[in-house]
Symmetry: C2
Subunit: 121 residues, 2 copies
Amino acid sequence: MRIGELARRSGLSRDTLRFYEKQGLIESRPGAEATNSYRDYPEEALITLDQIADAQAAGMSIADLAMLMGQLQAADPDGFDGEAFLDARIAEVEARVTRAERFLDSLRQARAALAATPVLR
Amino acid sequence: MRIGELARRSGLSRDTLRFYEKQGLIESRPGAEATNSYRDYPEEALITLDQIADAQAAGMSIADLAMLMGQLQAADPDGFDGEAFLDARIAEVEARVTRAERFLDSLRQARAALAATPVLR
DNA sequence: CAAAACCATGGAGTTAAGTCAACGGTTTTG
DNA sequence: CAAAACCGTTGACTTAACTCCATGGTTTTG
């Protein structure tokens, strides 16, 4: 599919998609039609984009994500320690989730306190 | 305590602390000693800073946090709908945590896959 | 009491992640 | 087939959250 359709279906802007592609997060075949230079995205790009959203929600930077996607599926070329890298990311994300859940609890408590206050304190 | 001590104990830079104060996230009494203009932070600033870290891990912006802290404890002055605001934040954070956990799962799977690969595929 | 260590303010600079604008080709459509 | 709708590239701009720097007071310390 072309960039416009992917943008509509993913909810991202065309600019964002081109940006992600430049960063190596998604890929497109250069238009099979030869005559133009339009990008052609496979259906699975939508899945990848959803996973990118998950990663961003977990606080991952695009640079780290590109590192992950590039290095991990490249079957561990040479001196890249995938296990150590993954372990570090996992620890970071776990810490983040723990903090986020603690915050969520306090938000819920604040909400309950508000609800329990009829009109004035 | 003065800014240097708070910085050491919180792990944040003095600049960050002054920045947070300017944004209304933390408060200090202007030095009781009168002669200088040094900030004087109460012990609880450390707790507040930890909560701020939780909120940031949950994806809250400083602007939203300032809004929360300012409006909510100001006993709902006038036209500010605290319940709606809280409900919106809660929904956002829940969605974020869900996504983050999904990402964490895939990280763990990737890790397990790596561990299961002795030397070559 | 002088040097070192701290603090303040104001403003410029940085980084990440997009976003926008300008200009010029390609496709689609009425 | 001409206008509308798409697409491409390059490069400048934006926003959030800091970070750095310069300049000049205040405290602490040996």
